[in-house]
């Protein structure tokens, strides 16, 4: 197997750092060879706050992955998240004098045109993702190349974020003498393995609830219409429990995993959860309804914030979404799908990486969706064969931030 067919995805999460080593198979599937993992320290709300500690954790995770897969890791694809990331949709247009054939350079020029908008000075573009082409008012042209026209227009979904914060992630990996292929918005990576092409065409909202952040992405007609990052996640639920029930953070985390439920406390079975004494903790009795109230309110609020954000980003967008897919470590929380259904009022499904093969226990766990998604994304971007869908093609247009930076 040629070396370029091996892809490594690295996600520096708030709870854990995961490295997925995958191999692209001839039938276009991704086969996972192994995963390296360490608990994450020095990351808060998806962003690096302690460079040295994080670098050490990443090193451990990479070594772990090399150990398990027997692959020497040279280059990685990195996921990026954080509340500093923002997005918007913009249309670029290009007049073609004398109604000539559209060339590849024209497609590039129209993308540059779409990016000619003011973003805050500390920010830099992360992705410019194609939504659709229009030629002379002919909407949604699949491939305008070689067709004739006087006016080429293109809609893009543009993601930008604070330059220094993105660079921090890159610097941390560079200091380990590991090359970076590209940085990818976390939700974009997850969506590659969590959503099927049908779902993307049909209209879907993907929500990836992690430890420090909740990343979400809206696909309509096969193209990304909206994306967002909320600096809220499982850590907040744990903190709420810790504050509300006066428990140490570690005990609150355990309680959340073992007994936590996001379902409406009105239908709770009620009763008391008895927490046992242990050497560092004096046992106590916890009211189950209180626990469920705390979790329910927080989870519901997260979904409501996402809903409001989508509604305010485009009129009628919410009506075009036919289903919600929830993934990420926090999606393992009991009752979370019902809460989402209540808020979004459309079918909700808990999901994880699909269309991949390899060690089953890895891709069946929703907390690896982003890291696995990175390898799939890498496969789509580097693939040389003719693009089979819009998504594959748009991938070529993605901003390769790292290369630009090192030039």
């Amino acid at each position: 197997m040629a070396n370029e067919q091996i892809f490594v995805g690295l996600e520096i999460g708030t709870t854990k750092i995961s490295v997925i080593v995958a191999e692209a198979r001839a039938d276009d599937q991704i086969s996972i060879l192994g995963v390296g993992e360490t608990p994450s320290r020095g990351v808060r709300k998806g962003e690096i706050v302690d460079m040295e500690t994080v670098t050490e954790c990443v090193r451990e995770a990479i070594l772990d992955a090399e150990d398990k897969t027997n692959v020497e890791i040279g280059n990685v694809w990195v996921a990026i998240t954080g509340a500093h990331l923002a997005s918007f949709n913009n249309r670029g247009s290009l007049a073609l004098p004398g109604e000539r054939q559209i060339e590849t350079e024209d497609l590039e020029a129209v993308e540059v045109n779409a990016k000619e908008v003011a973003i805050p000075t500390p920010n830099t573009f992360l992705h410019t993702i194609l939504q659709a082409y229009h030629v002379d008012g002919n909407q949604n042209v699949i491939d305008p190349l070689k067709s004739e026209g006087a006016l080429l227009e293109a809609d893009f979904h543009i993601v930008h974020g604070i330059k220094t914060r993105i660079h921090n992630t890159l610097r941390c990996i560079e200091s380990l003498k590991i090359g970076i292929e590209d940085v990818v918005l976390s939700s974009l990576a997850s969506a590659q393995v969590v959503l099927s092409q049908d779902q993307k065409n049909y209209g879907a909202l993907m929500i990836d609830i992690g430890g420090g952040t909740t990343d979400y992405l809206v696909y309509i007609d096969g193209a990304i219409r909206h994306s967002g990052v909320l600096a809220l996640g499982g850590d907040h639920i744990t903190n709420d429990i810790s504050v509300g029930l006066r428990l140490p953070i570690a005990r609150a985390e355990l309680l959340k995993i073992e007994e936590g439920s996001a379902s409406d406390p009105a239908v709770s079975q009620g009763g008391i959860i008895s927490l046992k004494n242990d050497p560092r903790f004096l046992g106590c009795d916890v009211d189950r309804i209180s626990l469920e109230t705390i979790i329910h309110l927080r989870v519901k609020e997260i979904f409501e914030l996402i809903r409001r954000d989508i509604e305010s980003s485009g009129e009628g967008m919410m009506d075009l979404i036919r289903g919600v897919m929830i993934t990420g470590g926090c999606s393992k929380l009991k009752g979370i799908a019902q809460v989402a259904e209540e808020v979004f009022d459309i079918p909700v499904e808990l999901t994880r990486a699909r269309n991949v093969s390899g060690a089953t226990q890895i891709f069946e766990d929703p907390q690896y969706s982003t890291a696995i998604g990175l390898t799939k994304y890498a496969r789509l971007v580097t693939k040389n064969i003719a693009p089979e869908s819009m998504i594959d093609r748009l991938a070529h247009g993605l901003g390769n931030l790292f290369k630009k930076r090192s030039r």
Partner: protein, 431 residues
Amino acid sequence: MSTSPSRRILVGVGNAGVTVLDLLSVECPGMTGLLAVNNDRDSLNASIVREKIEVPEGDPGEGFRVIDEEFGRTVEGASAVILCGGLGGETGSFLLTALAIRAKSAGLTTMACVGMPFSFEGKHKRDLAERSLEKLQEICDAVLVIGNDQLSGGSPSIAAVGEAFVLSDRTLLAALLALTGMLSTSGPVKITRADIHNVLGKPGVLTHFGFGKAEGSNRLHESLERALKSPLLTMPGKGSTLKESSMILLLLRGAKDISFAEVQAVVGKIEQIAGDNCQIKVGVHADGPLGSPLELYLLASSGGTVRKPAKPSESNETGETNSSNSSISRIGTTGTIGTKSPQSTGGYEMPPEHSEGEKGTGELFPNQTKPASKFGKKAATASKQMQGTLALDTYQRGRFDKSEPTIVEGEDLDVPTFLRKGIKLNTPTRK
């Protein structure tokens, strides 16, 4: 400061007021125009403020005479009087109102900067304080109120009682600095007396005040963050109170090199929190030596009732408003506005040279007739309750205490949802 300091007199009233003036003399050694008024001889003797008036205790008639004569003589020729003290005590409550009446009758702009007692000081004190506050708000052009109870919302209840009072004095000092700083802003971006009156001049109004100080390369963000975290700018469970305000006064004070971009960044951030309907007035005091720390003061209010029509003595303020509206749009559009008359706290101002930045003038103009804010009475009553019943430990961010806050739609989402929604829980029973 560009104005002659003698034109503005800071009066520390009662023990609290005198303490604050002492702190001020230590903080800004060269400051003049300070006056300590008290009926406690020991406190006055201990004070380092040079000018003092002792009001005899126990004889109201004699007290009034002293105030009328001695105080009247001292403030003669001044342009503004700022009273500072703690309400609730017999001394502070009585003297503050008496002095305010005297200053006002001399036709001076009179402002007050007062602290409300902690709830643990008892109901009697609280009632007395509230009555005096009502009176003060009637008399003065602007009253800045520091609710001591709210202060403790920021620091945990384990704080020693002594520390609580020190914090209260410190905050009162900062408020006094903010008020004097705003009064004496000059140059292209300034805050006028009318603006201050607009924000703090309505009876029953609830003051929101925040300040932050920082130095170094990230001074702006650090000071803004500190100011925004100020307990007087947050409502338990509701996030920033700035979004309830129709006008926000922002004072930046520091080294000469405060840049245009910095001012713009801070205003942008505040706008984000406060919403589009809010008007932000900016004053910049950039006369400190290079490298001096940046101080940032935020002043806003919510609630309150409409004030009765303007008194004749306030007419020059309205004129001032007209000519020196330093609304944010001006910063954005003009960089070349002419130098102002040096007497910025005086009466006359040069007429505006630009008209494109005057967007806000219409609503700003006769501010006394401005309709009550959209929150009206409801907010006023709600906020009153809030001051009294705030439990000391309701405001908690837990493990996120030291991390960058997640603020969406103006709410601090690091605070547990159930706390923000005010939902009661059964606390666990220890075995």
